[in-house]
């Protein structure tokens, strides 16, 4: 007979397996190749930026969160937010700004709202939006890829509030080229990643591979990225058919942060709808907003704002799309 006293618990006596922590670390694992690609294209300077945002995010979680031992750091969400924030920044951004961006992402984007599960906006995007508002020039200054593996932009070490060095080579991102010079970047370059842009966004093929892996493993709901990318493709194709000087669908999908945002930002469960129908609405809405901002707005890029606007209406979408109960 049983050696230890029987435990009294209530059903179910089975669990599907994945824990919240596990889901976070699966996404982090899927980001590792993306980080390596950014180092490949932009040099170790890219790694320094990502490390700075991660340090900022993890530091904020530790300072503002539950500080017994590792506390809430154990769930991995601060680490993930730090990585994501870093990957949305340009390669030559001063490191102190990156650190601050990571700190704001978790501090303002998550901790003040009650921590994991309490925030409305994607924390990584809150960090990036803060930097965009505070330092509009460094965050839109792009450098070309392929300057060597050990390349670190001199601007990286600018002191806080000092003048950013501008002795590095700048380049226009594919979206900037399209918007201001009406030049389309080659499709092969867009998907292979050898273009100017934010650290994590340039290599479309790798992002798609990571996304498929995460989707197949059911780490996130496939509906969100599929709806967002699909909406961009369809809406852009329609606009391109109406006026051919507006960029075609393949360019809209492959350029800028669209794929990165769709795979890694629009899939954040906390800030997106819980209902399947709501997920479609969120994805399609975000996709349409991206095209609207890029084509008709003043900025070349709109992924961040598109996702944040949809984050803001997510509670409403949840309200509209509550499931119709069985037999109701």
């Amino acid at each position: 007979m049983s050696a230890q006293p029987l435990e009294l618990r209530t059903a179910p006596f089975a669990h599907a397996g994945p824990s919240t922590r596990r889901l976070m670390f699966e996404v982090i694992a899927a980001l590792v190749p993306v980080v390596l690609a950014s180092v490949w294209f932009f040099g170790v300077g890219a790694l320094l930026v990502v490390l700075a945002t991660t340090a900022g995010a993890v530091g904020a979680e530790w300072l503002l969160g539950d500080r017994k031992g590792l506390g809430t750091l154990k769930d991995g969400s601060a680490l993930l937010t730090g990585l994501l924030t870093g990957l949305t920044l340009p390669p030559a951004i001063p490191l102190w700004m990156a650190l601050l961006g990571g700190f704001v992402a978790i501090g303002l984007g998550k901790r003040v709202l009650g921590g994991l599960g309490g925030n409305f906006f994607n924390p990584a995007l809150v960090g990036r939006a803060f930097l965009q508002a505070a330092f509009p020039v460094p965050i839109t200054t792009w450098t070309p890829p392929g300057q060597g593996l050990w390349h670190v932009p001199t601007s990286a070490f600018t002191l806080p509030f000092g003048h950013a060095e501008v002795d590095f080579v700048t380049a226009a991102s594919p979206l900037g080229l399209a918007k201001f010079d009406h030049k389309l970047t080659d499709v092969a370059l867009l998907f292979s990643g050898n273009t100017a842009g934010s650290l994590g966004e340039t290599c479309g093929a790798l992002i798609i591979a990571s996304g498929v892996w995460l989707g197949v493993r059911r780490v996130f709901d496939w509906r969100l990225p599929v709806a967002m990318v699909g909406a961009v493709a369809v809406f852009a194709a329609i606009l391109h058919a109406v006026r051919p000087e507006w960029p075609p669908a393949w360019f809209m999908v492959g350029s800028g942060g669209l794929l990165f945002g769709a795979v890694f930002m629009a899939t954040d469960p906390v800030t997106t709808p819980v209902t399947p129908k709501g997920m479609w609405i969120f994805g399609i809405g975000a996709g349409i907003l991206v095209v609207l901002i890029r084509v008709f707005g003043g900025l070349p890029e709109g992924v961040m704002y598109a996702i944040m606007i949809m984050n803001a209406v997510t509670p409403l979408i949840n309200g509209w799309t509550q499931p119709k109960r069985f037999g109701g």
Binding site: S2, A11, F13, A14, L116, W280, G327
Partner: protein, 456 residues
């Protein structure tokens, strides 16, 4: 808006827990030798407990009534062995509480022949009320786990009719194989039981719904139904909780039983396959419900088996017969892992609703709860299309009106939401509390209204 068409052969949503049926699904049913003592709680079914009709010291024959139904939703109880009534006293039952029970000491010298009279007339020639009465006095209840008195299900309420009769052979709970084995070994009794259900409810077509992980049962029953054009064996996808009555009806007929209504409201009458076999046995041999098949399994049992045991068999004896609970056992569960109850003590006995006994070494480790990350997995799992995360939150905050408005009472407690939640939030547990709170609140309101009416 984006909802796909209603799938055939299954229901929408649900989960896929590991089946864990391999240990027993090909093991023939074995009969357990008689033991010294049997304990029969008077309340083994939903409804009023039975009323004892024997006294302490009285000699009873195997199959003889020892307690009579106390009302319409109540059934009889019979001596599972020939012996003597040793006591009528409080005994521990599965819930951990004490409840009145009849204790029978087995006569070691008896031949243990079932002492009942075969029916005087065949079932088809009996009147409707005779059949209902016979089933009620044979103590037959639903053997899938809920233990609802079966004669109530065969009684079509006035003003309603049945068009479809359906046997539930899903056995969607992991580990359990008792229904599976009964289907494989006793197909003729099951088909005979379905015939009685058809005849007594006036239904035109009969169905037996079986999940595809039991191909032998499907084949055997298809053979048994061959040449009977009004009977159909319907193979169903393997998914939990397909055996929930409303899910089964959806899977077989694509009919949604409205919220708060019963299957008969959509002209369907259902029975579990084991129950159908018990009803067939009653009308062929006169034997009341004195034994049932129990699956004894789990990773901490000596010898997993499907055992035919007398009702009232002490758990300790049954577990010992199956090689004993191993020292590394952490939990003994009555029923399946999704909806079963953990035993507080092994000093209880097999009742009519006991479909399985699981000895588990590492069921679910108690994992610290994390905040809800709003992933929506519970919404995708809920077969009733409720919002379990919201219900859990409302229950935690005791928001009775909001709980009722979010249809908490529609929940059948299948536990799919707790099963999938990555944050390990005890959703179904919270929802159970929420349901109780709402029911209490509604009862209080009704009592208040009644009092106000009486005062005027």
């Amino acid at each position: 808006m984006f909802g796909l068409g209603r799938p055939r052969g299954t229901f929408r949503h649900g989960v896929h827990p590991p089946e864990n049926k391999r240990a027993t699904d090909s093991k023939p049913i074995e009969r357990m030798p008689f033991v010294a003592e049997y304990v029969l709680p008077l309340s083994q079914h939903i409804g009023a407990p039975a009323r004892p009709v024997v006294s302490v010291g009285q000699r009873v024959g195997r199959g003889q009534p020892i307690a009579a139904p106390a009302g319409f939703v109540s059934t009889a109880l019979h001596a599972p062995v020939t012996g003597t009534v040793a006591a009528i006293e409080l005994r521990t039952v599965a819930s951990g509480k004490e409840a009145p029970a009849i204790v029978i000491k087995t006569d070691p010298f008896s031949s243990q022949v079932v002492e009942v009279d075969a029916p005087a007339r065949p079932e088809p020639s009996l009147s409707a009320s005779e059949v209902i009465r016979a089933i009620q006095h044979a103590g037959i209840v639903g053997m899938g786990g809920a233990a609802f008195p079966s004669h109530v299900k065969l009684q079509v309420p006035a003003g309603k009719k049945a068009r479809f009769a359906m046997l539930n052979g899903c056995e969607c709970e992991p580990y359990l194989t008792c229904d599976h084995r009964v289907m494989v070994e006793r197909p003729d009794a099951i088909v005979a039981g379905l015939r009685i259900l058809l005849r007594r409810t006036g239904a035109e077509r009969g169905y037996i719904g079986i999940e595809r992980n039991k191909p032998d049962a499907i084949a055997v029953l298809q053979r048994a139904c061959a040449g009977e054009p009004d009977l159909e064996v319907v193979p169903l996808a393997v998914k939990y909780p397909q055996g929930a009555e409303k899910m089964l009806i959806d899977a077989v007929l694509q009919i949604e039983v409205p919220s708060g209504k019963l299957p008969i409201d959509v002209e369907v009458a259902t029975l579990n396959v084991g129950t159908a076999a018990a009803i067939a046995d009653l009308f062929s041999t006169g034997q009341p419900l004195i034994e049932r098949v129990v699956t004894v399994t789990g990773d901490a049992i000596g010898r997993p088996a499907n055992v035919l045991v007398p009702i009232g068999t002490p758990l300790r004896d049954l577990l010992a017969f199956c090689g004993g609970v191993q020292p590394h056992a952490r939990q003994v569960v009555l029923g399946g892992p999704m909806m079963g109850t953990a035993c507080k003590s092994l000093d209880i006995s097999v009742t009519k609703g006991t479909s399985g006994i699981l000895a588990l070494s590492r069921a679910v480790e108690p994992v610290a709860e994390e905040p809800c990350i709003k992933c929506g997995r519970c919404l995708d799992a809920c077969p009733y299309f409720l919002n379990p995360s919201l219900l859990g939150l409302l229950s935690r905050n005791d928001l009775v009106d909001d709980l009722a408005q979010a249809h908490v009472l529609d929940c059948c407690e299948c536990a799919s939401c707790s099963f999938v939640c990555p944050s390990h939030i005890p959703l179904v547990q919270l929802i159970r509390i929420g349901k109780a709170t709402v029911r209490q609140h509604q009862a209080a309101l009704a009592a208040k209204a009644l009092a106000a009416k009486a005062a005027t």
